[in-house]
């Protein structure tokens, strides 16, 4: 099997053309990139606001929990039936699904900032925006990044599934391959999307490592309440502490 797969993946013919690997990979990246950008633009400022003012928390937490319980295949099929076949509604669905992990992580990150540091900052004469930008944001950064990583993985997965409702991308190989019981094609798709996911995750892990202050590096393993918080209010991402 492995030998066949390797031949399949490395033959240049399979990389070219409108159904070639190159095109599909690019498509997949576009879907993921687009959804993440828009989701971030919406969820990040909102998360900062909720975290800083501590208002709207219940709504945010409930929204996150609800989105986690809904199967993406069900959502995608529903959306498409509702608004007709076409890429736009699916992309909107992808974007909406990427919002909760980022929102949750940002809000949790800001809430997790040492209250003493925030009081001290205010008391020393920082304006509210300065408190957010110079203190809350940098300290919340590790969690924000973990939210982005989580959202990325989720979007890569959902975009793969979305091939079922006529989206392009690497999921095409799985869906189309399944339709004609062509296992090589399915496996190729599965491997490529796995590699894509792993690569993106590594890139993000690197970005985290480069942008987070060394003073924050130990993060995470200290007290019980934090571990519990990670699973009830945050998502399933393996913490960057491993990387």
């Amino acid at each position: 099997m492995i030998g066949e797969i390797w031949t399949y993946l490395s033959s240049p013919g399979n990389w070219q053309g409108s159904d070639g690997f190159a095109v599909r990979i690019l498509e997949h990246l576009q879907y993921v990139g687009g959804a993440l950008l828009v989701a971030f633009a919406f969820a990040f400022p909102l998360g900062l606001l909720i975290g800083h003012t501590n208002r709207g928390v219940t709504v945010a937490v409930n929204a996150v929990n609800a989105s986690r319980s809904l199967p993406s295949l069900g959502l995608l099929t529903l959306v498409v039936l509702f608004s007709g076949l076409g890429r736009a509604p699916v992309l909107v669905a992808l974007t909406v699904l990427a919002i909760p992990p980022i929102l949750n992580a940002t809000y949790a990150g800001v809430r997790g900032v040492d209250k003493g540091a925030v009081t001290a900052a205010r008391g020393m004469g920082m304006t509210e925006p300065q408190v957010v930008w110079q203190v809350e944001l940098p300290v919340a950064l590790p969690l924000v990044w973990s939210g982005i990583r989580s959202a990325t993985l989720q979007t890569v997965a959902t975009a793969t599934i979305a091939a079922y409702v006529a989206l392009g991308g690497l999921g095409r190989y799985v869906i189309d391959g399944f339709a004609v019981r062509e296992f090589d094609e399915m496996l190729a798709g599965a491997l490529l999307v796995s590699l894509l996911a792993i690569t993106l995750d590594l890139v993000l892990a690197l970005a985290t490592r480069l942008s987070v202050s060394p003073g924050l590096r130990d993060g995470g393993r200290q007290r019980l309440p934090r571990a519990v918080k990670r699973f009830t209010s945050n998502d399933q991402s393996p913490a960057p502490a491993a990387g």
Binding site: P71, L73, L224, V228, F231
Partner: protein, 216 residues
């Protein structure tokens, strides 16, 4: 919404629901058992933890659909065999839960560990009868997330022909019948909520000391 259809097909729907419950529950239970064993090992022999985390990290990163396909190839089973979903989800759940188990054990106050040692506990009995119970809240928190994730992921199996509520989505989509999809969504949601409540109830039952005061 076609209510008539629901009534007419309640056997089918119930069948799919039951199938879905099995397909989600078994991986969680076996995954938990695996995670407990591996977690206790990783917690005790600390040097095994970092490599374990790397493997877990990779498994977690791979999208579920891809995992359902790659795993059979690695294991040598048929791709379309339902057993693959169970195995894949078991590995996936176990991977996520190992981390939780270790976190939970780590969070046990060192004073408790020392006291148990001082009382004469040997290492393994101490971990199993003293530390694990204390770690229950953390473990259950992780279990809740993993269970809900499992329930969602089983429906993805419908894309490669394996059953559960996911079939309502694919079938409904193919014949453009929204009712079927909505039924699938509602049932999934109810299942997720019930499972969550069940776990919370179990946690309360097994940790009576927790409600009496603040935890650590």
């Amino acid at each position: 919404m076609d209510w008539g259809w629901i009534v007419d097909n309640r056997d089918l729907i119930t069948g799919l629901l039951i199938e879905h419950i099995w397909l989600s529950a078994i991986p969680v239970v076996i995954g938990l058992a695996l995670a407990l064993v591996l977690g206790v090992l990783a917690h005790t022999y600390r040097w095994t933890y970092p490599p374990l985390l790397v493997i877990v990290g990779v498994l977690y990163t791979i999208p579920s659909l891809a995992l359902f396909i790659v795993l059979p190839v690695v294991l040598g089973t048929q791709i379309l065999n339902p057993i693959n979903i169970v195995i894949a989800l078991t590995i996936y759940s176990g991977a996520l839960l190992v981390r939780t188990v270790v976190d939970g054990l780590d969070a046990v106050p060192p004073a408790v560990r020392k006291a148990a040692d001082g009382l004469g506990y040997k290492r393994l009995p101490r971990i199993v009868t003293v530390e694990l119970p204390i770690a229950i809240p953390v473990i259950v928190a992780g279990l809740r997330v993993v269970t809900v994730a499992n329930i969602s992921m089983v429906s993805v199996g419908a894309l490669i022909g394996i059953g559960g509520l996911g079939e309502l989505f694919t079938s409904g989509f193919q014949i453009r019948f929204m009712t079927e999809i909505v039924v699938g969504l509602v049932l999934s949601l109810l299942l997720a909520v019930s499972a969550d409540l069940l776990l919370v109830y179990l946690q309360r039952k097994t940790t009576p000391w927790d409600r009496l005061g603040a935890t650590a």
